[in-house]
Amino acid sequence: MSTSAEPAEAIGITESPHRDLAAQRVIPLRHPGRWIATAVVVVLAAQFVHGLATNPFYQWGRFGYWFARPVILRGLWVTLEVTALSAVLGLLGGVVLALARLSHNPVLRTVSWVYIWLFRSVPLIVVLLILFNFSALYRTLSLGVPFGPSFFRFDENKLATELVVATIGLSLNEAAYAAEVVRGGILSVGRGQREASAALGLPRWYQFRRIVLPQALRAIVPAYVNQLIGLIKGTSLVFYVSLLDLFGQVQTMSSTYPGDVVPLLLVATAWYVILTSLVSLAQYWIERRLRAGERG
């Protein structure tokens, strides 16, 4: 169809033989749609911010008054306590459950599967309320052989303070989700890694700790942080088992000062945002440290 000289002529290069095509600047394609969308979003955002700042409904003065009140900080401390304890206990439980699900022992596998299935099926608030009413179901808690002698005996009523009930409930729930996160992380490490460490004669536990787990963490950390953020917000449910966490204190203060409901809710919002932001920041640092080997 065409000879070798034709294509250059066809796009008009020969019309300006003096110009060096290689030296030309590229004119980027215009995107008017983008500009319109940007303008709409900016206007909406400005309206929203203006509303936040000027609408007397929000009572920003009262917000300032409540933000760092001791009663709010006490609630915040309880939230932090419950979150930290449940995060650690939940993760430990999750690792155990994940290893059980990946084990060769069919009993462990089944028990782990049933546990995860059960606790992912039951709403957290139901778990908490059942535990709260536990003392009615079981008057004493004892550790020993079923139907046989018992080694330890706890008086349930003394054991079950609200903090303990809340922590146990959240940890039980958290462990079920953490188990799946950890299991997914472990499975993401190629089988070749385990074979290579086995071939070197590394003991099984050592293979897991030094070779598999550090690589699994790269997949575990982002997913678990997600989980952790859910947990921070989930702690607001402990109000229903009479534990005065951040949300609990806000609710209590709201019933005492009905006019301050909105600023109090905004105080709770601000603190939850601060907590989850700190967790996200920690995630960023941890992930950067785990990335060794991906880049120099």
Binding site: G192, E195, P203, Q215
Partner: protein
């Protein structure tokens, strides 16, 4: 060097480093190994050849117990791998004992399997320090020597991802050597490499052969096999159909399948 394949039970013959007897292995209903007998003399190089699915990788993996045989046994340096013979029966060994046996046998994989989160140096010293209790400075010095031997001295602080495939495989060989094994297993060590990188890895293996290292190598590099092997073994359908001196097996195969396969790959 090897004196061919000694007959099983030869009275007075030097006991081979590796003895495989009646080895069988199935995955589900698929029989991968169907009664394999093989001897590997100390200081010799054995090359396993055969079409894919013929059982050569499985045979190799049985030697360090990455696969558990269904029947038969593998013996390395006079010890049955993975089992103890007592009262006329084979008893499975506890994991700790299998781990100890594996320290005598190094393995190099097709996909290198370096530990990506550890540097080259850490890859090399991990097992000697953790398993053999070698003091860290000694392990570091040894690692330097081994890296020099595979032509990679100075790359200690690199991560595996920063190396080419050929370099990674040479590190993997150095890592296996760091445990001072009596036997090295290679599972298609050059199959995952770009063609221009194959030579550098084969060069390292060739040097090891000259140095008298006992090796079993699964490979499709026929020319290389002819050059370094003391013994060539051809598998098909889970059986050894041809074995002996490389010249005989590779150039004058008696078996029909072996002839067809070799003419296809040459």
């Amino acid at each position: 060097m090897s004196a061919g394949t000694p007959q099983a039970g030869d009275a007075g013959a030097i006991r081979p480093l590796v003895r495989v007897r009646g080895l069988k292995k199935s995955f589900g209903s698929h029989r991968v190994l169907d009664g394999v007998d093989l001897d590997v003399a100390e200081g010799s190089v054995t090359v396993l050849l055969g079409p894919s699915g013929s059982g050569k990788s499985t045979l190799l993996r049985c030697v360090n117990h990455l696969e558990r045989p269904d029947a038969g046994f593998v013996e390395v340096a006079g010890e049955i791998v993975g089992y103890r013979y007592r009262d006329g029966r084979l008893h499975e060994l506890p994991g700790r004992e299998i781990t100890r046996q594996r320290t005598q046998v190094g393995m190099v994989f097709q996909q290198f399997n370096l530990f990506p989160h550890l540097t080259v140096l850490e890859n090399l010293i991990e097992a000697p320090v953790a398993v053999r209790g070698v003091p860290k400075p000694d392990a570091v010095a040894k690692a330097g020597e081994l890296l020099a031997r595979v032509g990679l001295d100075g790359r200690q602080s690199a991560y595996p991802r920063e190396l080419s495939g050929g370099q990674q495989q040479r590190v993997a060989i150095a890592r296996a050597l760091a445990m001072e094994p009596r036997l090295l297993l290679f599972d298609e060590p050059t199959s995952a490499l770009d063609p221009e990188l194959v030579g550098e890895v084969l060069g390292v293996i060739r040097d090891l052969a000259v140095g008298g290292m006992s090796m079993i190598i699964v490979t499709h590099e026929i020319g290389f096999a002819r050059e370094v092997a003391d013994q060539a073994v051809f598998l098909d359908g889970g059986r050894i159909v041809e074995s002996g001196a490389p010249a005989d097996v590779l150039d004058r195969p008696g078996n029909e399948r072996a002839r067809a396969f070799l003419s296809a790959v040459l």
